[in-house]
């Protein structure tokens, strides 16, 4: 057999990317609208955040169980050197993305004297963008080679 079926790691990366893109897009959309309209206070945002994290964890567990059930042989294998290399290369670039975003947020906070709820969510957004970058780059490396 010479076809390229996706490895467990690649399927896992696709699943994680889809989950955080969907769930956190909903979260950021709700928080942004809520804070702009003044209908969300700090406690409501905190509740929304923990609800989002729990949703992500549950979806990650369920999707990974489903992926493993359809290909338990691959799921039993540890990450190999290619998986680790792609994760490190992607992590290196996404680390830069996070660092630059944090610097921009820090400058913005200093200049505009932002409320702590805004700062926390801007930092969370930076982590989100960094993680999406990492997953996306890993998938590019899996598809195009490195």
């Amino acid at each position: 057999m010479t076809s390229l079926k996706l490895s467990f790691e690649e399927k896992s990366t696709w699943a994680s990317l889809a989950i955080i893109l969907i769930v956190f897009s909903v979260y950021f959309s709700q928080v942004y609208d809520g804070l702009i309209d003044g209908i969300l206070d700090k406690a409501a945002v905190t509740g929304l955040f923990f609800g989002t994290v729990v949703t992500v964890v549950i979806l990650e567990i369920v999707l990974h169980i489903v992926i493993a059930a359809f290909n338990h042989r691959d799921a039993d294998q540890p990450r190999d050197e290619r998986d680790r290399l792609f994760a490190v290369k992607a992590g290196n670039i996404s680390g830069w993305v996070l660092g630059i975003a944090v610097l921009i947020i820090a400058a913005h906070t200093f200049i505009q004297d932002l409320d702590s709820t805004w700062v926390a969510n801007l930092l969370l957004f930076a982590v989100f963008v960094s993680q999406v970058t990492s997953y996306t780059l890993q998938l590019v490396y899996y598809r195009r080679g490195y």
Binding site: M1, T2, L4, K5, L6, S7, F8, E9, E10, D74, Q77, D80, E81, R82, D83, R144, G145, Y146
Partner: protein, 72 residues
């Protein structure tokens, strides 16, 4: 992707009783998808894995991988 390194992994599998990608992957400790990527020139393995591939086929390293020099 490293086009300056070519390999004979596919040919060696054929010459070794059409060894499957999975069998080779199990022998060298990587996933089948990594063997596929190596064969297609989409991934250059570490020296350790390169030696393991040569060992799996009982040939020398340069019978498996060839360095084509810098691309001009």
């Amino acid at each position: 992707m490293n086009p300056s390194i070519t390999n004979n992994v596919r040919k060696l599998r054929f010459e070794n009783g059409e060894m499957s990608q999975q069998s080779l992957a199990d022998a060298i400790g990587v996933t089948r998808q990594t063997v596929f990527a190596i064969e297609k020139g989409k991934y250059s393995p570490s020296l350790e894995v390169a030696f393991k591939i040569a060992e799996a086929f009982s040939v020398s390293l340069d019978e498996v991988f060839q360095y084509q020099g810098r691309k001009k």
